[in-house]
């Protein structure tokens, strides 16, 4: 341990993760905090990091208020409807009223937004989506962050947040290590903005061999946003609200442009429309929610899942008609090349040309994130002017820990933010963080040597575990004294799949299963003290696993707490198969005690602030 070099960095604002939220945060922080020191710590390289590494073909959240297309209130209604009522309407409204300004800046910076030739407006894919040639979306926003931040540390995995030793419940910075050099990094900061993305590989993916990396959300989305905040004692919300996606088979290529722009549609293996068959059953489960327009994403999944279980799969996307139009054919392919190249490879390898073959769809394993048609994440304070009192404790987007802010997937209750909304949330968090720092005035943050030295010991332990244990055995991967990160990951995925409602059990769970899930997760947590890492790269995998484990514990606790099936098609509580507005028209909150590791659960009211 003594050999590990420690590098210190003192700054005002530390941004953890330079994805969509983090780049937005660095940009806005510079505008308001001219004299402040702004630093980004990023696990990869901000030019191609996060969920947008390969680019995007659409910006899924744009109001178009300048052309009277949508108002922020409309977006709140849409997000609320899609999430079966459960969103933070204040946060959703706040994001929606600012998101257009982010998109206008993207265009100014050179992002090619497609235009409708007749109207001159951005080309709509759907009511909320606009189409872009977004291969370089990420390098472009990274450039904006680079121009704004004082320093960007690439290849630093943040493992823990630091607390201020001079004041209860106040943030003091973060620690992590360089995944290439192995140096230990201590960032002391007055405010921290966590923007480290959602979580894949919590549940067992459909492909488990060489293709296990072909998850829908990026394999490097390791749940750090959740684990970091939970371990700092922040309250979390809606962590049960995992998302399942209907996507093209194996490559998980997106379907948005297909449905909305190409006007393709689905049918079962026998060429039949199937959604209407499940209407009555769903009506019995969720009541009037089934009649809402557009039909909530989860309910459409439900019909898909049931139709396949009834023996009439696979479900196909009918592309043969649309693909006769050369323009639509081009859009169909470029859509993948711009954001999920893997789907193009699957089709090329299997000779699937959608012009002549209707490709198969599948439902994915569940993911935990906060910016898509789902809203898991940290409980945050809302904007001063519109947030109800229970949702407002001083600074916009500040979590329940002083000086700790969140953006993008980190934030709970803010569904349908997507790339542009995540960037916007980063900006909102940054402005609030500057205000927080101004209000701190001369008040100093103190981080004791003991705090970061203890963490150093813990962080590098997997290297030691391996070094010691490796001497016991001749060769190979099997040791009685350590588990490798891949072993731990596969155990986590299997148990979450089987006990918490993954693909293996058709998304079904119940109280006995969840209780056992929590026990097995606790045992896994003990075993992770014995994780072995052969090198710095494996050390990163070890810490990604620990972050995924913490996220999973939170998901299991929340799923157990909410005794209803709010989102059929995302998961089912077999012991409470109906949506129960009487008892559960509310948000769920959790908090893990920093000292004892105990979880407490509570309900929080939903405010429908928009009619």
């Amino acid at each position: 341990m003594s050999k590990v070099k420690t590098v210190f960095e003192d700054c005002d604002i530390l941004v953890v993760g330079g994805g969509m939220g983090g780049t937005g945060a660095a940009y806005e922080a510079r505008y308001w905090g001219r004299d402040l020191k702004i630093v980004i710590a990023e696990k990869a390289n901000i030019d191609r990091s996060g969920a947008v590494a390969q680019g995007l073909y659409a910006i899924n959240c744009y109001m178009g208020t300048q052309w009277d297309e949508n108002n922020p209130e409309d977006h709140v209604r849409y997000a609320r409807n899609d999430l079966m009522g459960m969103v933070r309407e204040d946060l959703a409204f706040d994001m929606a009223r600012h998101v257009d300004s982010a998109v206008h800046k993207f265009e100014e910076w050179g992002l090619p937004l497609m235009k409708n030739e007749e109207t001159g407006r951005y080309l709509r894919e759907g009511k909320w989506q606009i189409m872009i040639h977004g291969e370089s979306y990420k390098p472009i926003v990274a450039e904006a962050a680079r121009k704004s931040a004082d320093k960007i540390y690439n290849r630093i995995m943040i493992t823990h947040l630091l607390m201020d030793d001079s004041k209860e419940n106040r943030i003091g910075g973060a620690v992590g290590f360089n995944v290439r050099t192995g140096d230990y990094h201590v960032f002391r900061a007055k405010a921290v903005i966590v923007a480290s993305g959602g979580a894949s590989h919590i549940f067992k993916p459909r492909s488990v061999g060489e293709g296990m990396g072909r998850t829908w959300y990026a394999p490097w989305s390791s749940g750090s946003a959740y684990a970091l905040c939970i371990d700092a004692g922040a309250k979390m919300t809606q962590m049960e609200n995992r998302i399942v996606l209907a996507r093209f088979k194996d490559g998980y290529g997106p379907v948005g442009a297909y449905f909305l722009h190409l006007k393709t549609y689905t049918q079962n293996a026998y060429g039949e429309e199937y959604e209407s068959k499940w209407y009555d059953e769903l009506k019995g489960m969720v009541g009037d929610y089934i009649d809402h327009e557009p039909r909530p994403t989860c309910l459409r999944n439900h019909a898909f899942i049931k139709e396949v279980a009834a023996g009439r799969g696979p479900i196909h996307m009918v592309t043969k008609e649309a693909f006769q139009d050369p323009h639509l054919e081009e859009v169909g392919w470029e859509n993948f090349l711009g954001m999920t190249v893997g789907q193009a490879v699957v089709w090329a390898s299997q000779n699937i040309d959608p012009k002549y073959t209707n490709p198969e769809l599948t439902t994915s394993e569940p993911y935990v994130m906060g910016s898509h048609a789902t809203c898991s994440g940290a409980w945050a304070s809302g904007p001063e002017d519109i947030a109800p009192d229970e949702y407002q404790w001083g600074y916009n987007r500040m979590l329940t820990v002083d000086g700790l802010f969140g953006a993008g997937d980190t934030l709970g209750g803010t569904a349908h933010a997507f790339s542009s909304g995540s960037f916007t949330e980063g900006r909102l968090a940054a402005k609030a963080a500057v205000k927080y720092i101004r209000d701190l005035k001369t008040d100093k943050i103190e981080v004791s040597e003991k705090q970061y030295e203890d963490l150093k010991e813990e962080i590098f332990k997997p290297l030691e575990n391996y070094a010691v244990g490796r001497n016991e055995i001749t060769a190979g991967t099997v040791s009685p004294s350590y588990l490798l990160p891949l072993h731990g990951l596969q155990r986590l995925e299997k148990l979450m799949d089987e006990y918490c409602g993954g693909i293996g059990v058709n998304y079904m769970t119940n109280e006995p299963l969840l209780t056992r899930c929590i026990e097995l997760l606790d045992i896994l947590e003990e075993d992770l003290d014995h994780i072995g890492a052969e090198n710095n790269h494996e050390l990163m995998r070890a810490w990604e696993l620990k972050h995924r484990l913490r996220t999973s514990q939170s998901v299991a606790q929340h799923t157990l707490f909410r005794k209803e099936t709010r989102w059929p098609g995302y998961y089912y509580r077999g012991d409470h198969m109906k949506l129960d507005d009487e008892n559960w028209h509310c948000l769920t909150l959790s908090q893990r005690d920093r000292k004892t590791g105990e979880w407490t659960m509570e309900k929080a009211p939903v405010y429908h602030i928009v009619d």
Partner: protein
């Protein structure tokens, strides 16, 4: 479809190592050339493929579900502001696509905020973000709701 590197093309420059979001492109100590050391954590994002000056990196679809004999090649040219794709099916059919990646010379259109006038201290208390309200493109400023308009919170 994890990546692999052609021995005869790679010169060990490390661009792919620098960019891979999964940290799985590394330089092999013996051959001094890059390789994908953890194919099952590859997202087939093509970041490394696009970044390789030698076109030394290619992709072979994941063994789990992708039959052999296909290829998806890419050429990203920053100066031209374009990206070109060539898709070859297992049965030999081909498709080609070309898209813009930027409308401006690289990086030049992004302003340095530090050179702008410092905002008034009071502006911190408003709901406006940088360049707002002008950049929103409509009259009337940043939207709000009236607090009195809030409906009661519900638990029911």
């Amino acid at each position: 479809m994890p990546t692999f590197v052609y021995m005869t093309k790679c010169d060990g420059c490390g661009h792919c190592v620098d960019i891979c979001p999964s940290d799985i492109m590394h330089i092999d100590k013996t051959t001094r050339r890059a390789y994908n050391m953890e194919p099952n954590m590859c997202w087939e994002c093509y970041s490394c493929v696009k970044a390789c000056p030698q076109n030394a990196i290619d992709v072979r679809g994941y063994a789990d579900f992708a039959p052999l004999g296909h290829s998806v090649r890419v050429l990203r040219e920053e100066e031209k502001g374009t990206i070109a794709w060539k898709i070859k099916f297992r049965d030999g059919r081909e498709k080609n696509f070309l898209s813009p990646i930027t409308t401006k010379p690289w990086g030049e259109a992004i302003e340095d905020l530090a050179t702008l006038p410092v905002p008034e201290p009071d502006a911190l208390d408003t709901q406006e973000l940088c360049y707002e309200p002008d950049v929103l493109g409509y009259e009337g400023g940043v939207r709000t709701l009236k607090k009195g308009q809030l409906k009661q919170g519900v638990y029911y």
